[in-house]
Amino acid sequence: MTTTVLAAPTESRLQSEAVTLAYGDATVARDLSVRIPDGRVTSIIGPNGCGKSTLLRALVRLLRPRGGTVYLDGQAIHRLGTKEVARRLGLLSQQSPLPEAITVEDLVRRGRFPHQSFLQPPSDRDHEAVERALALAGVEDLRDRPVDELSGGQRQRAWIAMTLAQETPILLLDEPTTFLDVAHQQEVFDLVRRLNREEGRTVVLVLHEVNDAARVSDHIVAMRDGAIVAEGVPEDVVNPEQLLTIFGVPCDVMCDPATAARTCIPRGCLLQPHITSARAGGVLRTSDLSSGYGDRRVVQGVNVDIAPGRITAIVGANACGKSTLLKTLARLLPITQGEALLDGRSVLEGRHRELACRLAMLGQGAVAPAGVTVEELVAAGRYPYQRWWRQWSPEDEAAVTRSLEATGLGALRHRQVETLSGGQRQRVWIAMTLAQDTPVMLLDEPTTFLDIAHQVEVLDLIADLNRREGRTIVMVLHDLAQAARYADEIVAMKDGEVIASGPPAEVITVDLVRTVFGIDCRVTPDPLTQRPVVLPALD
C-alpha cells in the first residue's frame, strides 16, 4: 500500500489524517485531522489534559497513532527512519531532562546528531550550524557556561538553540515558556517570531496561555477533550464565544488598537466588596527583613505591611525573591536580619505547631503520596491541632467538611488525589490549607500549570474565601494580569527588594512594568472592573 499518492498540498508539509491517540487503553484523542501551514507560526491551545501535547508527540513520531496517519511531505511518517524525521522536524519537549554539567555549546552540538553518521568527525557544516544556532538564540556569550548554572530563560534558549542546530524546516515546541517570567517569555516569543519571519521556518507551539498564542501565532488550533473545536487565524479563535467553547469560561477580549493583538481576560466571578471585617488576628508585617539560602541573601531589607482581611499579591520577575519572602514569613527559612511579626509577635517565637494554627502556607509543586484520597489529604491540614493520642475531634471533622464544601470537592471526597485533574488537585491542596483554619494564608503560585479555566476557578475560590471568611491572603503570582484583577494590594519586588506597594490602580504603571519585568507594555483600565490591564507590546 503506497501512501505517496495522497494529495499533499504544497502549503502543508506536516499533517495528520483522522488520527486517534491512546496511552495504553485510555484514548486521549479521536479523529484529529490537522494541517500545519508552511512558513507560519501555529499554536495548539486547549485546557489541561485536552490532548495537545499528545498530538504534538504524534506529529513528531514519538507516539504511534492507534488509528489514522501522520504525513510528512506526503509520506506516512512512521515509515520514515528516525534520523530522516529528525532532519525535517525539530522538537523541544516540555520537560527536558535536567542537564548534566555540560556547556551550552556541547548541548547545542548534540542537535547535529541526525546529520552525523557513526564515528564521523563534525563537519564544517556542523560547525556552521552550531554557530548559527548559538547566534540565533542569542546564547553566544553563554557558550562555555554549564547549562545547569543558567537562569530559566537562558536555559530555555540554550535548549531552543539545540533544536535550531538540527536545522529543520519545521520546529515544534511544547510549552516553551512554562517556568519563565514575562520578560523571559517575551524573549522566547521574540525568537520564535524571528525564526519564522527571517528564516521562514514553520513553527508549531503547544501553549496553555491563550494570550501568548494570540500574540505570537498566525494560525491557532484549539482542542478540548481530545477533539479539535476551533481552528483558524487568531481573530477567529480568540473571541468570547470560541473561548467559552474551548475553556468553558466566559472571557472578555480586548484588542490593542496599535498592534491589533488580542488579549483575553477571563471574567471569573465579579469581586464582591469587602463587607465582612477581618478576622481577629492576622496582622502580618515585616521590618528590614532579610533572608536567603545559606550564604546567599535573596530577600534584602524588606518592609511590608500586609493589609489584614485583604488579598495581597506579590509580583516580580523570576528569582526576585518573592517565594523566598513568603517562605520566610512562614518560618520555612531562617531570618538573617530584621524581623517578621504576626500579631506583634515574631514568627520565630514559639513552637512550629502553634504558628501553624495561626498561619498556613501552600508551597509550590507539592505532590500527594500515591493512593491518598482527597479527604485524607485535606484532613492532614488538621495536623497542628492534633496529637497522636488525640487524632480526631469533632472540630477536625467540621473543619474538613467545611473546607471540602468551600472548595466544591464534596463529591470527590473519596477519590484518590492522583486521579484528579490539575485544577482539581490544586483545589485539594487549597482545601488542605483551608482546613488548617488560620487567619492568614500564604499561597505560592497557586495557578501555575493550570489553564485559564482552572486558573479562574482557583482564583475565584480564593477571592470568595477572602470575602466570606475575612481571611488575610498573601499570594505570589507570576501573572501580572491576575494580580491586578484579584488583589487588593500589590507588592512589587525586584532583586530581593520591594520597590512598590499599594492598590493595583496606583502601583501598576508602564514604568513599573518596565522596571520590574524589563518589558514594554500598555496599561489600560478594564472596562468592567476598572482594574488595570497589562497588554505586552510585541517586537
Binding site: H352, E375, R415
Partner: protein, 352 residues
C-alpha cells in the same frame, strides 16, 4: 492520564473514632478486619507448621501442648524444639517487615529497605568478624546489633547536609552497603575455611535452633517498637507530603525523621542480631500490605507486622520441609523476594 478502574470507583473508608476521655484514635474498620484475618491466618499456619517434621504430631496435640495440657512425649518436641522456632520466625518477620515500612515511608521511595541501605550489611560485617575472631556464639546478637546501629549512624551522618534528603540517603546507603559487603568478603577470604562456613551460614539468616531466649529478645523488641512505630505513623503521614508542607503544618521535620530512623534501625537491628540478615522481607512485605490495605497508617503498620510474621513463617516451613534438604530461611526469602523486586521494577517501568 486516565484513571485506573479501581481508582475511578471511590469506596468510602469505614472510619470510626475511638474516644476515651482525652484520647481519640481514628480507626479504619476494614484494616481492623484485615488485621484479625491475618492474625488468625498466622495462628493457623503456626499450628500446622508445628505438626510437620520427622516426628509428625496431630494438630490437636500441638494445640494442647502449646496451651500446656499436652502429654510429655509431645511437650518436649512442641514446646522445646518447634514452638521457639515458629515464634522466632513470626516475630523476626514482623520486625523486619516493619523496619521496611518505616524506611520506605521515610524516604518516600518504594525501593528502599534496610537490606539495601547498608544496615543489614553492617550487622553482617560485625557478626562475621565476631564469629571469625572469637569463635563464640555468645554475645553474637550484641555484635550484630552494634554493627547495625553503627551502619545506620554512618548513613545518617554522611547524609546529613543541613537536613536529610531521601534520595541522598539512598545513595549514601548503597555506598555504605557496598563498603560493608566488601569488608565482609575480605574477612571471609582471609580466614580458615572451617570458621568461614559458620560465618557464611549466619549471613544467609536462619531461625534454626532458636531458643526461648531468642524469642524473649525478639518479643521484647517488638513490644516496644511496634507501638512506637504505630504512633509515629500519624506524623509520618504528614511527613510524606514533603518537607515543606510538613513544616508549614507545624511539624518539627528533622526530629520526626530522626525518631523514625531510630525506630526503623531498632526494628531491623533486633531482628538481624538474632536471626541473621534475612533478605527481602523488609523490602517486600510493606508493598504487599499497602496493596491490600491502602496507604500506610497506624493500622496498616500493624497489618504489615502480621503479614511479615506469616511470610517468614511460611518461608521457614518451605525451607525446612519442602525440599529433601532443609535450607536456611534466608535462601527461600531471597529466592522469592528477588523475582518480586524485578517484577516491581518492571511494573513501575511499564507505568512510565
Amino acid at each position: 492520564m486516565a484513571a485506573s478502574i479501581d481508582a475511578a470507583a471511590p469506596r468510602p473508608p469505614r472510619l470510626r473514632t475511638l474516644r476515651l476521655g482525652a484520647v481519640s484514635l481514628r480507626i479504619d474498620l476494614r484494616v481492623l478486619l484485615l488485621i484479625a484475618v491475618a492474625a488468625a491466618g498466622t495462628f493457623a499456619l503456626a499450628c500446622w507448621a508445628m505438626t510437620l517434621g520427622s516426628f509428625p504430631i496431630a494438630v490437636v496435640d500441638v494445640v494442647r501442648s502449646v496451651l500446656g495440657q499436652g502429654s510429655d512425649e509431645y511437650d518436649f518436641v512442641v514446646r522445646t524444639l518447634r514452638l521457639p522456632r515458629v515464634l522466632s520466625a513470626v516475630l523476626a518477620g514482623a520486625l523486619l517487615a516493619l523496619s521496611g515500612a518505616v524506611f520506605q515511608g521515610l524516604v518516600r521511595n518504594a525501593l528502599v529497605s534496610p537490606d539495601i541501605i547498608g544496615i543489614n550489611a553492617g550487622a553482617s560485617l560485625f557478626a562475621v568478624f565476631w564469629i571469625l575472631t572469637l569463635r563464640s556464639s555468645a554475645l553474637l546478637p550484641v555484635a550484630a546489633f552494634v554493627g547495625a546501629v553503627l551502619a545506620a549512624v554512618l548513613v545518617y551522618v554522611l547524609t546529613w547536609k543541613g537536613g536529610v534528603s531521601g534520595n541522598r540517603l539512598i545513595l549514601v546507603g548503597i555506598g555504605v552497603n557496598a563498603m560493608c559487603a566488601a569488608a565482609t568478603t575480605f574477612l571471609i577470604v582471609r580466614f580458615p575455611i572451617d570458621d568461614v562456613s559458620r560465618a557464611v551460614l549466619w549471613t544467609t539468616g536462619s531461625v534454626y535452633a532458636s531458643s526461648w531466649g531468642d524469642v524473649a529478645l525478639l518479643g521484647a523488641g517488638l513490644a516496644v517498637l511496634l507501638p512506637a512505630g504505630a504512633v509515629l505513623m500519624w506524623a509520618m503521614r504528614v511527613l510524606q507530603l514533603g518537607d515543606q508542607t510538613a513544616r508549614s503544618l507545624g511539624q518539627a521535620v528533622e526530629r520526626t525523621r530522626l525518631t523514625l530512623m531510630l525506630v526503623g534501625c531498632g526494628l531491623s537491628a533486633v531482628a538481624i542480631s538474632i536471626v541473621g540478615p534475612i533478605g527481602f522481607v523488609a523490602f517486600m512485605l510493606p508493598h504487599v500490605a499497602r496493596m491490600v490495605a491502602g496507604p500506610m497508617s497506624g493500622g496498616v503498620f500493624v497489618f504489615t507486622a502480621m503479614l511479615g510474621g506469616a511470610y517468614l513463617l511460611a518461608a521457614d516451613v518451605v525451607a525446612q520441609h519442602a525440599l529433601p534438604v532443609s535450607l536456611p530461611v534466608g535462601v527461600v526469602t531471597s529466592a522469592l523476594g528477588a523475582p518480586y523486586f524485578l517484577f516491581l521494577l518492571w511494573r513501575t517501568n511499564a507505568r512510565l
